[in-house]
Amino acid sequence: MDEQRQPLIEFKGVSKTFGTRNILDKIDFSIYEGEVTTLIGLSGTGKSVTLKHIIGMLKPDEGEILFRGKAIDKMSKAEWNDYIGQIAYMFQSNALFDSLTVFENVAMPLKYASKLKKKEIEEKAMARIEQTELTEVFDKYPSEISGGMQKRAALARALVTDPGIVLFDEPTTGQDPIRKNAILGMVAEYQKRFGFTALLISHEIPDVYFISNRILALYGRKIVFQGNPEEFESLDHPFRQELISSLESLGEELTGLYSKRHFKVRYQSDLSQRHPDASYAAAVFTIDDLDTITQNIGHDMAQQIIRSLGAYINKHFGAVGGFSSRQTINEYATVLPYSNIEESERILVDFTKDFKEHGIEDIEEHEIWELDPNLENEDPTGEYVEFSVLAGLAQGKPQIEIESVMEFARFNQKEIARFRCARGGKAQ
């Protein structure tokens, strides 16, 4: 598949040495248009160095970097300007100008590197500030806002020129789990909305799998893997022990649930010992309309909801020996190896009751409450955003593939709770 496509950016045998220290040793990889590609690797292995080669801040000692098949070091000045004009770079340290306000920082690339008029610059910069939820702090200096806001300001500045390629150098460093996932969600959302090609460096395994089309693994000065996240999860390579084990915790940081890989490992270890005719139950939960929450209320709220649901799934199903994992951004899978379908239905009823009463908590700025299906729930004012949680159960046997059982559980899904959330603040 990849071989048939023309790479947008291609590294061919690129090497880089600083003094006597070799950082990159003849690395080869490709980045494809419109995709999110994530470069993972341990600290100090040359990930940022790789990124800086793309924007010409560093030159390779050997090898070449191609953009749409053309070597960037052989480009004419006009071609280079056209190429570099398509790229935005978000620094690990944000690199915001601390003597300029958030607005001035965001407007900077337009002010000095475009021919737009002052009014157009203001409109464009303010639009990006609004999209990144920084309207309240647009006139503040970077030192006056939180780390998460600084990240978003850097993101707004990177996106203000409508770039075709955005390079993110560890955008989630130093953030709490909610913020980390909110930033990754933001990258994914903007990538879908604006259609740019994203290359990001991240250590957030497995969270980063949810937003990545391709994974590149840099290890021992070489790219040892390039492919999709599914292939990466099943990869058998010696670097896994060192790289993945050190980066991937047993549980996903946001929800506390198993990563997809550990979920599969647990499934195999628990059920391979069982009799082939023994049965188990599986449940699939989905948060419907999560995109609406993201767009109308914000990424932080969406991540709070994801975390909250994960915590309740763990609480109810973990207590009876079940184990769970987040499969996609808004879907969770649970296996109850020692429960039959009737028992799991009872647990689901208890879960639903508890979740409806206490489910989405700890929200400071917005209030969420459950909608009563028997009452009139129309919202003519449009002040509220609704989302629902779906759940489905299925019975499986050890010899059946887990994917087939989950597919059946998806088929059985029905709405177990619907919530309404005020757009701009407290509920009435």
């Binding site: 770079y89 620094f91 690339p109 002010k111 000095y112």
Partner: protein, 282 residues
Amino acid sequence: MADNSTVEAATEPAAAKPSKGFIKSFFDFFGGRTLRLNNDLGAMAIFFFRSFIMIFRIKQIPEIIAQIYFIGAKSAQIVLLVGFFTGMVLGLQLYFVLVKFGSVGVLGTAIALTLIREMGPVLAAIMITARAGSAMTAEIGIQRISEQIDALSTMRIDPLGYLVSPRIAAAVISFPILTTFFDLIGIIGAWFSGCLLLGVNSGTYFYRVVASTGIDDIMGGYYKSIVFGLLVVTICCFQGFFTHMRTDSFGAKSVSLSTTSAVVISCVMILVSDYVVTSFIV
């Protein structure tokens, strides 16, 4: 015998190291330094010319005005203070020299020519270096180590055009103005000590100041102040801009050392170039 062989064995590695000899060491040391100096001067010249060319752009005007405020207006107080006391000291010293020869009438001439031709441009430049030059190095140095300068490059904004060009333009405008302030307040300071405190006739003093000062003297002072301005800004910005290339330190320490170097080199270069420019204009 055994003892001797032990001593020989112990000293063998040291003896194996070939000695360079005095002449080779001499040329190694001074040759290396000369080559490094040559490289630095070349880099600084390229740095200056690339920055200078980018002054002439419409978008620079607001930045230049902001820098004139920072380098010029904000330095005015300290320049005026130092100028006044320098004038007072000069008035005092020259009075007691001239009084021995019965020539206190030419106090105005001595003060005006000393300040306008020499002390005004030099002392004003040193004061601006101390106040604004050090701040420039520190600011640009911090921007360098916090990747803000790299960020400019990724935004297709030329860092030299954005950071250095407005400062060069502002220095060319501010240095002569501040030198003028220094000269004027120095003349008033000397009048204060010479006329008000020591009794020289005020009319004679100001007549001599005006009569003995020619346009060549004033222009000579301005030429010097422009040269000093270009030197100070180039050196200070260069030190800050390449603070990450220092081999003796990293991070905040490198900014601190760059700032010290910028002030020391600027002050030395002011005095060296003062001699060179003076030799051309006298």
